[in-house]
């Protein structure tokens, strides 16, 4: 977690098993370990009503750990974009009382939350746990382009090429941090680029 923060920056917790019959987990990368850790605290039979959707890396890491939990359904997706139609349909058809758990990178949590918000689920009722990379999903305020996996400060917009200050200001609706031109007043000033979101 970032040390210094502002109010619009999301705060993540630790997954904990909620009462209910239907549980949907969306995770990527080390988010799988957050689910595994939670499982140790879950009542017997908890995963009988659980669906886990996992965006696995190319090495398939953590897939076996999730299989071992024996959820009612385990779906392995190659990317968030490819998962999106399925996730939308699952949320649209969900029963009242579905419990949602999001774990992994900030980009995954933010984008999954964005879809859930559009489906009418209140963000305060979702369980979230951040694991793994601190890389940010950033919207360039100038060209509106989204740059994924931003690890540096400042960062270059992958669309318009402006050098952007990656702010802590965060929009749940866009699932992105705001990037604002860092040297707009004098383009000849090029601050050093440091890798800080790891």
């Amino acid at each position: 977690m970032a040390a210094k923060t502002i109010i619009s920056r999301p705060i993540y917790g630790t997954l904990s098993p909620q009462a209910g019959k239907h549980h949907l987990f969306v995770a990527d990368a080390e988010g799988a370990l957050a689910i595994k850790d939670m499982a140790a605290r879950a009542p017997a039979g908890f995963f009988d009503g659980a669906e886990i959707v996992f965006i696995a890396g190319p090495d398939g890491k953590y897939v076996a750990a999730l299989e071992a939990l024996e959820p009612a359904q385990l779906h392995i997706a190659p990317s968030f974009a490819s998962l999106l139609p399925r996730l939308k349909q699952t949320l649209t058809n969900a029963h009242m009382g579905l419990r949602l758990y999001l774990a992994g990178t900030e980009g995954l949590i933010g984008q999954a939350m964005q879809v859930a918000l559009e489906a009418g689920i209140d963000h305060t009722s979702m369980q979230t746990e951040h694991r793994g990379s601190l890389a940010r999903r950033m919207q360039c305020v100038h060209c509106k382009g989204i740059t994924e996996n931003v690890t540096t400060q400042p960062a270059t917009c992958s669309h318009c090429g402006l050098l952007l200050l990656v702010r802590d200001h965060y929009s749940r609706r866009l699932a992105a941090f705001q990037g604002v031109c860092i040297n707009a007043e004098d383009r000849s000033e090029i601050p050093p680029m440091e890798e800080i979101f790891r």
């Binding site: 619009s8 200001h169 707009a184």
Partner: protein, 346 residues
Amino acid sequence: MGITFRKETFRDDFTFRNSPEHIRRFPFPFHEDSYMYAVNIEPHVVGPKGSVLENLIDVDEHYVAEMQDRALVLAEDPLRCQSLPHMTLAGWDLLELLMEQQALGYPEHFTLKRDGDRWRWINRPLGIDDTFTFGDTSTLPYGPMEYITRQSQGDFCILDQRDGNLWMDAGMVTTQADWSLDFDIGMNFFEWHAPVPLAHEKGIFVRALKFLTNIQQGKPARRLNWTMTINPRLDTSPENYHKWGPDRATVTPENVGDKVHLRVELQSFWRLPRSNGIVFPIRCYLIKMDELVTQPKWARRLHRVIRDLPEELATYKGLTRYRSTLVEWLSKLDDGSATSQGFGPD
């Protein structure tokens, strides 16, 4: 006697000026020789004749030119005007409020005739004469909020009230001081104010929210806020920061008086009757230093305020690059004598 509307621009050749009468009525925001955040909210009641508070919705000599500038901004970037789907009723509330207030304050320029739901709106300065059905969006060329705010000076945010908070769920924002509606739409009161320094720690926003959520219909409130802008540019959006930002590096001792502008926002807060939302008009007033210092009290006081401003505030307001040049220029107009109480000129 009506207002003589100026032909002027807020971009390119920047021909915006204030007439001598408009200099005297400028809402100077400092009642003492220093500045710090405060919850400076007061009832929005009618003020002295000839002031910007003579009417609760002020229309001035810049009206036509400001509406033309807004149309240019919207043509380039339609996302400056957005309304989430549940905010249409609040848009009708706002349309009613602005039509009523403008017709009341300026009958020679605006007329509203109502026959049940059948309304006729005449806006003479902009050459508009439309008849429509109140509540039926298909009878207007735009949604109700966009329609009326294309005809009203200032930015407008419509806030939905729920869960003890206010949510920025609709707005027309083309003259903003460096914040993005497109980014902030859907956020709650604390979230969209998140980047403001110092004020959270002082509990300003907690108290302000408490006040705002209790605003009653027919009892609007107001506050002043301020910043500075180089050139009389209305569209100082973050979207275009890479285009107007370089202006800040162009201030020299020779051009301070012409380039540097005090930018004052008269913010008011109104409960909307049908939607129970709050509308938050942010009316922007600009005055160049050469105009402002024609009032010696304002020159002395502004010198002291800018000189003594805490560094974090100066940075947040974007003054850093030209602050010393401005303070040096203003210091020559400050003989050290006392300033009188209150905002107004002597």
